[in-house]
Every structure is written in C-alpha cells, then in structure tokens.
C-alpha cells in the first residue's frame, strides 16, 4: 500500500514540476486548478516539502484561481498545504504562504504577521520603512488615484480631500485662440439648435 501511495506522490511531484517548474516566471494562470480535487490535493500535501521552491511558489499562487465553490469544499486541504508552506525553508515560499493563510477559509489575506517568525520580521521591517517613506513624502503632487478622473468633486473630496490646483507659471495677458472659437461656436450652436426646432 505504502509503495502505491509513494508512487502517486512521485507522479504528482513530476506532474507539478512539468506544469509549474519549467520557467522562471512566477505568474500562474488558472488552468491547473481544473485538475485539482481532494485526492490530488492530498497527494500534493504529501509531496509538498520535496518540491522545488519555484514549483511550491506557483502552486500556492495558483490557489487564487480556484473557483469559490471548490475553495469552500477543499478549504482544509488547501490550508494544510499553506501551513506546510509557512514552515518552508525558502523565505519567499514561507512569506507567500503566510500572506495566503486565511484565503481558503475567508477569501481574504493576512493582516497580522507573527513577528517571531523570520517572514514576519522581514514583513514588519519593510512595512515600517515604507510607512516612514510615505509619511515623509511631500504633500500633493501629480500622483492622483486613477479613479479620480471619473468622480464628481464632492465624492472625490470625501475620499481624498480637496483637489490640488495647477501651479501658476505666468499671468494671462490674452486668452488663447480657443477661447474666441468657443464663443463663436457656442453662438452658432444656439442658432443651429433653434433652426432644428423650427423645422
């Protein structure tokens, strides 16, 4: 019995390597998820520690693409694999597993990292440093959120505060040609609209 189980795990390991271990790119699509089921996930759990770090990373990241109903059904198996990932000697595998740990049960990601773990320390240190960089950044600037261009002023103000006005670089002594054109076309527009109404 044991040798059959080992055989299945060996097959799973080779299959995962062929599917996920052939390129350095860690972006992974959802196609592999169609081949997951309770048995396959069980085999993955058994062979996980023997996989290459790159394969482990892509395997964990593929969990994002598992359809909700399957994720609900398999959440304990997925969590067990993530728990193994947390203990992994590869820091990236441990970090990604830590971040994704609540995902199978709640669909969300970690908010709290155990600072006594190595990955937790790295995360907290970087968070602290980024917080300082952001805090010290100059106010205002051109980097507005991308949805700003679509929002009415009141909605935008509620989200991000008052909008920064452009810097004045000179005084205007004469309006551009576009201003005269605007006035001319506006008159023509009213005339044209009246004409259409008459007909």
């Amino acid at each position: 019995m044991k040798s059959t189980a080992s055989g299945r795990e060996g097959d799973t390991s080779i299959w995962l390597h062929n599917k996920l271990g052939t390129s350095n790119d860690t972006w992974v699509g959802g196609s592999i998820c169609s081949q997951y089921n309770l048995e396959v996930l069980g085999n993955i759990r058994e062979c996980f520690v023997y996989l290459q770090p790159q394969v482990k990373l892509k395997l964990l990241l593929s969990f994002f693409h598992i359809p909700c109903r399957n994720a609900d059904e398999w959440h304990s198996e997925l969590k067990e694999i993530l728990e193994l990932g947390r203990m992994d000697s590869d820091p990236w595998v441990a970090m990604v597993a830590e971040i994704m740990l609540p995902f199978p049960s709640t669909g969300s990601l970690s908010e709290e990292f155990n600072a006594s773990e190595s990955s937790g320390q790295i995360f907290h240190l970087l968070l602290k440093d980024l917080r300082k960089i952001i805090h010290d950044a100059p106010d205002g600037g051109i980097l507005t959120p991308l949805e700003s261009r679509f929002l009415n002023p009141n909605a935008l103000n509620e989200l991000y505060g008052p909008c920064e006005q452009p810097t004045a670089h000179f005084k205007l002594k004469r309006k551009p040609k576009a201003a005269a054109l605007r006035a001319e076309l506006l008159n023509k527009s009213i005339e044209a609209a009246n004409q259409i109404r008459k007909h």
């Binding site: 969300s108 240190l125 960089i133 509620e158």
Partner: protein, 420 residues
C-alpha cells in the same frame, strides 16, 4: 547579489529577475524604487512610477507581497492618494502585461474588518472578479451589480470604483463601435453614475450615503452617450454643442467624451474627410481642458499622437495647417495650467528636429502673445531653450528691431531673465 545589497548598493542591482529571488534583496530594492517615486520631480514622477510598477510585476509573488504591504498602508490612511496610486499602478501594469489579478484584488478587498460587509459584498466581488478576469462586461453580471447597488443596503462603493471596472464601463458607453443591448443600457449608466457621484461616509462603523447628485449625473451620462452613439454629422453635433458643454461639467462625462473623441479622430480617414478649420470633436477637447484639469494629461497624450501622425495623402500646406490647429489646442492646455509637459514636449521635438521649425515658431509666438510676467522659474527654464534657439526666434528678433510689438517685448522679458 545579497552581498551587493547588504553593502547598500541597491542601484547597482540591475537584474530584477535575480533580485526578486531573494526576499531581503527585493525588499530593499522595493524601498529604493518607492523612494525614487516620492522624491522625483513632478516631470520625472510618472517615469519613476512606471519603473517601480514594472519591477514589482516581475513575478506574482513580488506582486502579492507588495500589494499586501500597500493594502495595509492604505488602511492606515496616511497620504492615501499616493499609497492608492502606488497600489493601482502595479495592478494596472500587471493587467497590461496580460495577468489576471482580479482574484488577488478581491482577496484584498475582503481583507480588513471594516471592508467586509457580508453577503452583498461577497456577491458583488464575485461578479466583479469574473468581469475583471475576462476584461469584459456582460449583461447578467451588470444586472446583478445593479440590483445590489439599488437595494436598501448596497455593497461598499469602493468595489465599483476599481479603475479597471470604471474603464470598462466608460468604454462600453462611449468608445466608438461598442454595442450595448438597449434593454440593459440603463443599468450600465446607473452603475457608472453611482460610482461617480454617490458620497459614502462612515462614522463609528455606520455607513451613510448621499445620493443628491446621482440623478443629474445619470441623466448627463445618458444624454451625452446618446449624442456620442448617434453617428451625428458635424452640423448636428454643432447644434448639440451647448448641451454637450453642460453635460461635460460632470467629470465622468468629460472622461467619456475624451475617450469618444479619441476613438473618432484617430480613425485614419478623419482628417481627410474633415472640412472645418477646427473639427468640432477637437473643440470639445478644449472644453474638457477648460473644466477638468485632472484630464489634462489624457488630452495631451491624444494631442501628441495627433501631432505626430503622418498624413501623407494630404498636401503639405494642409498638413501644416492641421498641425497648427493641434498646436492651438496645446496652447489652450498651457493657458489652463498644463504648462511644463507641453513646453518640454515642444523643446524635445525641436531639438530632435522631428518637426518643421515654422510650427515651433508658431507655438512660441502664440505663447508669447498670451503670457505676461511674473514667470515661474520652471517656466523660464523650460521655455528658454525655444526662445534662445536662433532657428525659432531669429526672424522674430529681426522683426523686433523694426517694431515693438507686444510679443517681442515679452520675448525680451523672458530671455534676459532666463539667461541670468
């Protein structure tokens, strides 16, 4: 690589592929790139932002790690516009690179106690995730979202303010050639108006919604959409101009009309068939520039594309007139405060000899006739390469010797100051 990083030379590590293999090295490089973004000058900031986002999107693990960090910083609320843009930029680049980040975004949306609001949010995030993954809207999911947001207890508004979703909605309603089933169209309009206008506030965990602007925003989107989708002639558009000016006071309509104009005027035959001196579509861009400075960059990108397009089928004089007409639009941008990028662009195409000097001369003359001191230091620095270029202002200086026109007196005001 780790030794170089430990010694503090993050700038020397040029291979992101190698750097992203070690979490400590990547973390240091991430800090360096974000520092570059926040400390860059305004003109270089967009480039630094693109470099940072490209670096983060090198791998899905680096993306998830950075997105989680930024999501936690967003929740703290300090310099929120900056942190949000840092987050959105990596999402935007990942999508451009063809990666499906919708499930990661939705997982982050659900991360945080305040954000999670039970079944309606779960349902909304599921249908949004499906549409974002496919980069396409569909009537069934839009109907579900519309129902959820019309209910007494709608999901949080930030879900439908995800930039990729707003882009899809605006494209569906304004991009030329897009078809929406008329039966479902009001739902698309209503959702876009809701995202653009409703003010959602939270006090002591209680959500309150202000919907005063929902109806007028919805009406403006609908009427502007009807004009844009109506295949109207220039004369018919002229009759609608004053109404369109009214509708595009709403930012979402202005963004939609900019997208519509962009689609129409970049058709290869557009300028061949156009008979007006200034086509009405471009006049609409002037109004967008007048009313919404946040859209200046989008309009300028379009104008640059139009300025650089080859119109070989047209006579050379007609081509020059067209380019002058586009310069008039750029001068309008300068008059409304979008100054330095336009000056830099003109100086750049002049230096690289990518355009006829007479066109740059026309630009310089128009600016000189419009501006008066006091000038900012940045304006001086960026305008002086054009003013001091003999090929551009030589003939104007000669004219200054025989007359004292207002434009040449402004030249005199700019040149000595910039030389000093």
């Amino acid at each position: 690589i780790k030794l170089i990083s430990d010694a503090g030379f993050q700038g020397e590590i040029t291979s992101v592929s190698t750097a992203s293999q070690q979490i400590e090295v990547f973390s240091r490089i991430l800090k360096t790139f974000i520092k570059n973004v926040v400390s860059s000058s305004r003109e270089d900031q967009i480039n630094s932002l693109k470099e940072y986002a490209k670096m983060v999107c090198h791998g899905q693990h680096t993306f998830v790690y950075t997105a989680t960090l930024l999501h936690l910083l967003e929740a703290e609320g300090v310099k929120l516009p900056l942190v949000t843009r840092l987050f959105q930029e990596i999402t935007s680049v990942a999508v451009q690179q063809g990666h499906d980040v919708a499930p990661i975004l939705m997982a982050l949306v659900r991360t945080g106690t305040d954000a999670f609001e039970g079944n309606s949010q779960t349902r909304a995030s599921q249908v949004l995730s499906a549409m974002l993954s496919k980069k396409a809207l569909n009537p069934a999911d839009i109907t579900t979202l519309h129902k959820l947001y019309s209910s007494d207890d709608p999901p949080p508004i930030h879900l439908i303010r995800i930039p990729q979703f707003l882009d899809l909605l605006v494209d569906a309603l304004f991009k030329p050639g897009m078809k929406i089933n008329p039966e479902h169209k009001p739902k698309y309009i209503s959702l876009l108006a809701y995202a653009a206008s409703v003010v959602e506030t939270r006090k002591d965990g209680e959500k309150s919604l202000k919907q005063d602007e929902l109806k007028p925003t919805s009406q403006a989107i609908e009427r502007a959409h009807n004009v844009c989708a109506g295949n109207k002639t220039s004369a018919e558009l002229l009759a609608e101009l004053s109404s369109l000016y009214h509708y595009l006071r709403f930012p979402v309509v202005a963004a939609g009309i900019t997208r519509w104009v962009s689609g129409v005027v970049t058709e290869p035959s557009y300028f061949k068939l156009s008979v007006e001196q200034t086509p009405i579509h471009l006049v609409l861009l002037d109004e967008v520039v007048l009313v919404h400075h946040i859209l200046h960059e989008d309009v300028f990108t379009l104008l640059q594309n139009l300025f650089e397009v080859e119109l070989e089928d047209l006579e050379i004089l007609v081509q020059l007139d067209l380019k002058k007409m586009i310069i008039d639009r750029m001068v309008n941008l300068v008059s409304r405060g979008y100054v330095i990028p336009v000056l830099k662009y003109m100086a750049n195409i002049c230096q690289k000899e990518k355009t006829d000097y007479s066109l740059v001369r026309y630009f310089v003359r128009e600016i000189l006739e419009m501006v008066a001191p006091p000038f900012s230091k940045e304006f001086m620095e960026n305008f002086s390469p054009l003013i001091e270029n003999e090929n551009i202002t030589g003939s104007m200086r000669a004219a200054a010797a025989s007359s004292s026109s207002s434009s040449t007196s402004t030249t005199a005001a700019v040149v000595p100051a910039s030389s000093s």
